[in-house]
Amino acid sequence: MIGIIDYGMGNLHSVSKAMERLGLSYFISPYVEELKEADGLILPGVGSFKDAMNILEADGLAPFIREWSQADRPLLGICLGMQLLFEESEENGTTQGLNLLPGRVRRFRGVTEAGEAYKVPHMGWNLLTFWQPEHTLLQNTAPGHVYFVHSFVVEVKSRDILIATCTYDVEVPAVVGQNATMGTQFHPEKSSQLGMAMLENFGNFVAQEVKARG
């Protein structure tokens, strides 16, 4: 059973509907006591990094998610949920993140090095480059387009965690991961077959982990 973390900042409906389409069992909960019973967690999220961290800290979800990840249990962050996995964000001053992956979140500059302006948010379909095609989330998929909507981008401190990227002025970490903690900057639930395949892969990974744990 996958637990979708409800902290008031995600479009839970689209993620949960995607789970239903894939036939994956899930529940939505804001409570640590309930989420603790899940086999895998999804951290969705749309909106501001600072607001999100404030809620996660206030509700006791932040320490719970950290422990979960450190215990190497399956965790998938989506969009803002992926950014929250990193050390900090420059959104509205510096805000500490969950600090599970090495890197920081900064705003797209909106101007190229050559001085040319480009649009922010990065909104639409962009082509992925796979760096770790053997990764859990990329099983049985091929590089294709996925749907992004974001104004902030992660600067990773280690390329080891880059699983797939795309380019929008800078290199955009699109799929990241370390051990059982992973994330997608784009919305897999809105990214047609390729995105749905990645969600399904996460579901399969959770099922394998359940088996492995006995």
């Binding site: 479009n11 409906h13 689209s14 509907k17 995607a18 239903e20 389409r21 749309v46 909106g47 501001s48 909106g110 302006a117 649009k119 922010v120 948010p121 990065h122 909104m123 639409g124 379909w125 962009n126 082509l127 387009h145 749907y147 909507v149 974001h150 104004s151 380019t167 929008y168 919305h187 639930e189 809105k190 990214s191 047609s192 077959q193 995105g195 749905m196």
Partner: protein, 252 residues
């Protein structure tokens, strides 16, 4: 590289897709779910649903439609038409839409854009602008109420304002071109694109597949929206994308 988007628009009245959708091979050409699946499979990058219900019941039905569509569609979709308050936005977004589109209500009370953007994030607030060229103004004027009422607003100034207020995207419809089927309004699209920092969706005037490349090549639109040309199968999303690809416009 970010691709250019092709967006079919569906008019929904009392829970049914209306305005001559002529599809063979569908069990029910008026069913929003069946049609969205069809367009998704054809390669549509996004969909827009425009609620043209006049009654309160019709609007309530729209929420059910949104929920049902969200349950089957794995691409983003926007819902517009009759959204007047934060409550309306909440209901539609909660039902599973990715974005809401504001038009007349935003002109009446521009604060609504700010409120929506602050509460739900700019990424889900689209402002639709209906534009018509005005000789005396030497520019385009903003219209409301589905193009029936003119306003004192100049389009570029209004576009700048809605972005400052937090709109994440502009859906720009040329009333001069709408229904004419002679191509998108390139001058209008370019004029607005030059003054805003958010994506611009060009709308109005698509009459053939050949009308799509220029709107991307010459006026640098981020997306193009069309309705009847797709509904009547004058061309298809797949054909348009093939044409764009052949002409060097990057598509999915």
């Amino acid at each position: 590289m970010l691709t250019k988007r092709i967006i079919p628009c569906l008019d929904v009245k009392d829970g049914r897709v209306v305005k001559g959708v002529q599809f063979l091979g569908l069990r029910d050409a008026g069913d929003p779910v069946e049609l969205s699946t069809f367009y998704d499979q054809e390669g549509a990058d996004e969909l827009v649903f425009l609620d043209i219900s006049a009654s309160h019941e019709g609007r309530k039905t729209m929420i059910d439609v949104v929920e049902e569509v969200a349950g089957t569609l794995a691409i983003p979709f926007t819902v517009g038409g009759g959204i007047n308050a934060l409550e309306d936005m909440r209901a539609i977004l909660r039902a599973g839409a990715d974005k809401v589109s504001l038009n007349t209500a935003a002109v009446k009370r521009p604060e609504l854009i700010t409120e929506g953007a602050d509460y739900f994030g700019s990424q889900c607030i689209v402002v639709a602008i209906d534009a018509k060229y005005d000789e005396s103004l030497g520019s385009w004027r903003v219209y409301t109420h589905g193009g029936r009422n003119s306003t004192a607003l100049e389009v570029k100034a209004w576009a700048r304002e809605v972005v400052e207020r937090g709109a994440g995207e502009i859906l720009l419809t040329s009333m001069d071109q709408d229904g004419a089927k002679t191509g998108f309004d390139l001058a209008l699209t370019e004029a607005v694109n030059e003054v805003v920092s958010v994506p611009v969706i060009a709308s109005g005037g698509a009459g053939a597949g050949e009308h799509f490349p220029p709107v991307f090549q010459q006026s640098n639109a981020d997306a193009a929206l069309a309705a009847s040309i797709f509904h009547y199968k004058e061309t298809s999303v797949a054909e348009v994308k093939k044409l764009l690809d052949e002409q060097g416009v990057v598509v999915r």
